[in-house]
Symmetry: C2
Subunit: 333 residues, 2 copies
C-alpha cells in the first residue's frame, strides 16, 4: 500500500504538504502542487479512508435507509436511490446501504461508530414509530417524506395537498361536476399514511371550493379489486365524469378494465393521475399526470444533508411544488 509518506518522499516534501495539496486547506505553490500531483499519479496513491476518518472524524459517507420490503414501488425507490447516490458522489460522499427493516437502530449504529456522517431515510410514514428514535441519532438526519411529527428533523417531500388540489382543479377547470378519487389501498389510509391523507385533503377541499361533487374510493391492487372499485366510482348515482388516480399499481388494470367496458379515455371519462412520468407515458393510454419527482427529491435531500453538514443549518422542511403534464387524457365537458 502506497502511503502519504511515500508520496512525500517521492515529491521531496513533507507529509503535511501532500495532505494540504489534497485537501486544499492551505495555500501551496504551483510548483510544489505540480510535483506532488505527479508523484501521486506516478505511485498510484490512494488515501486510506480509515486513517482519514480517524484523523478528521469525518467519514465522507452517508447512511441511506431504504425500504427493501416488497410492496413499495421498487422502480421509484430505485430512482430515489440513484439520484441520491449520484448527488452524494458529486459532493465526494459515498453511500452506505441500510435497510429499513433493520430499524433505526442501524442509523444509530453507523453514526455512533462514525461509519456515516449523516442519515437519509426514505419512504417515511406519518406515524412512523421509529421517528422518535431518530432524534437520538447524533448526526444530521434528512427524511424523504413528512411524518406528522417532524419537529427537529429535516424533511423533503412532494406537496401532496397541492397535488390533490391541482388534479381536482384541473378537472373542475374542464367543466367536470362530479369526480372520483381512486386512492391507495384501504390499509394505507387506515394507518394514516401522511402523503395519502394530504393528497386526499387537497382533493376534497378543492372539489368543495369549486362546488364539484367528489367521491373517494380506496383501491386494493389486483384486477378484481379494480373492477369492484370502478363499479363504485362510476355508479350511475354519482354521475362521475372524471377520475383522479392516486395508486400507481392499479393504473394498468384500470385502463384495461375501462377499455373492456368500452369507456374511452378521454371521450367518455377523463383520467388524471399522480405517478412517475415514465409510467404515465408508457400506459396503453398516456395519462395527464403529476410527476413523482424522484430525481429532484433525492438531489434535494442530499443538498439538505450537505447544508447541515457544512453550515450550522437548522432542520428545515421543503415541499416540492407539483408539476402537471398534460397528455390529453382529460376532456372538456
Amino acid at each position: 500500500m502506497i502511503t502519504i509518506k511515500e508520496v512525500a518522499r517521492h515529491a521531496g516534501v513533507s507529509m503535511s504538504t501532500v495532505s494540504y495539496v489534497l485537501s486544499g486547506k492551505r495555500s501551496i505553490s504551483g510548483e510544489t502542487r505540480r510535483r506532488v500531483e505527479q508523484s501521486i499519479a506516478a505511485l498510484g496513491y490512494h488515501p486510506n479512508a480509515g486513517a482519514r476518518a480517524l484523523a478528521s472524524s469525518k467519514s465522507q459517507v452517508l447512511g441511506l435507509v431504504v425500504p427493501l420490503r416488497s410492496g413499495v414501488n421498487m422502480p421509484v425507490i430505485m430512482q430515489f436511490v440513484a439520484s441520491i447516490v449520484s448527488a452524494a458522489r458529486d459532493y465526494d460522499y459515498d453511500v452506505l446501504l441500510l435497510t429499513k427493516e433493520a430499524g433505526p437502530g442501524e442509523a444509530h449504529r453507523v453514526t455512533a461508530r462514525s461509519m456515516a456522517d449523516a442519515i437519509i431515510l426514505m419512504d417515511v410514514e406519518s406515524d412512523d414509530l421509529r421517528i422518535p428514535e431518530l432524534r437520538t441519532v447524533e448526526a444530521p438526519v434528512v427524511l424523504l417524506g413528512m411524518p406528522d411529527d417532524h419537529e427537529g428533523l429535516s424533511c423533503v417531500d412532494l406537496d401532496f395537498a397541492t397535488a390533490g388540489r391541482q388534479m381536482a382543479g384541473h378537472l373542475a377547470d374542464r367543466g367536470h361536476r362530479s369526480i372520483a378519487l381512486i386512492g391507495s389501498p384501504p390499509a394505507v389510509y387506515e394507518r394514516g399514511t401522511s402523503y395519502a391523507a394530504r393528497l386526499l385533503e387537497g382533493f376534497r377541499s378543492e372539489a368543495a371550493k369549486r362546488d364539484v361533487r367528489a367521491s373517494v374510493h380506496p383501491c386494493a391492487p389486483g384486477y378484481d379489486a379494480v373492477a369492484k372499485c370502478l363499479d363504485q366510482a362510476l355508479a350511475p348515482e354519482h354521475g362521475t365524469t372524471g377520475l383522479v388516480v392516486h395508486n400507481e399499481a392499479v393504473l394498468g388494470p384500470l385502463l384495461l378494465e375501462l377499455r373492456r367496458r368500452s369507456l374511452d379515455v378521454p371521450a367518455d371519462l377523463s383520467v388524471i393521475t399522480l405517478c412517475p412520468d415514465d409510467v404515465a407515458e408508457s400506459l396503453p393510454v398516456p395519462l395527464t399526470s403529476i410527476a413523482v419527482p424522484a430525481q429532484e427529491l433525492g438531489t434535494i435531500a442530499v443538498e439538505m444533508v450537505m447544508a447541515r453538514l457544512t453550515e450550522e443549518h437548522a432542520p428545515e422542511v421543503r415541499l416540492l411544488q407539483p408539476r402537471l403534464t398534460d397528455r390529453g387524457s382529460t376532456s372538456r365537458r
Copy 2:
C-alpha cells in the same frame, strides 16, 4: 465520544483486554468479560470504525455494484440487494452502494482506499467491457451473472441452460410436438447476453433431443410488440401448442393478448416461464415457472465473498439448479 480507553478504565482493565473481549481473539476469564461488557453497556461504547479499519486493515464493508439504470427489472434487483445486505449483516459486514454506471473504477477506488474489503457486482453481462478492469481490483470480486470470460473471478448464477432444457422438456413430457420460445428483446440477444444465450441453447438442444419443433421469437416490450410476436409464434404453419416465455416484462400483456384472442391457458395453449415466483403467482393466470432465486443467489454471493475473505479460497463458479413450480398452466396433448 466514548473510547476504548474509557471503557478500560471503567472496567479496571487494559485497553487490550477490552479489545480482546470484543473480538474474542484471546481467551478472557468470565469474570473479566462480564465486567467489561457491563462497562461497555454502561458507557454506551461504540467502537470507532475508522480506527478499527486503520489498525486491522479491514473495513468490514462490502462494495455492491448495482445497475441503477432503468430498464433492468428493479423489483428483482431489489430482491438481490435485500438478500445481499441481510446476508452481509449476518457476517457483520455493511454494504457500500456503488452504481454500475459509474464504472468499475468505483470498485477500484473503494478497495484502493480500503473502504471495502471485497466487491459484489450484479447484473453482469456476457461481454461486459468492464470485466477486465475488475481483475486489477486488489480484493475479492464476486459476480452475479456469468460473463463469457470469467477466468480468475468468482461467479454465481442460475443454470440457464438447464432451465431452458427443463422448460422444453416439461412441454415435451406433456406431448407437445411444436413449441415456441418468447424471448428477451432482440437487443439482448444481439449483444450476446450470457444468460439469454445459455437458456436459448438449452431450450434448442432439449427440443432437438426430444424431436420437438422449436421456434424462437425475441420480443420487445409493449403491447403491440407482444401482439406481433404472438402472430409469429402462433402462425398456423408452426402448429405451436406450447410457449416458453423468457421475458418477464411481457408476461402481463402476453396473457391479456391471449385472452383477447380467446385462447385459453392451458386448454388451448400451454405456457411456462422463467420469472420470480411472486410474478408468476400474481398474473391473471398463474403460470408454471422456473423461479429466479434472487434471495438464494444473493446469499450465496455473500457466502462466496466470505469464503474468499477468510480462507485462501480460489475463485469458483456456482450455477444454481433451477426449480420448477407447476401452477397448472401447461396441459397434456
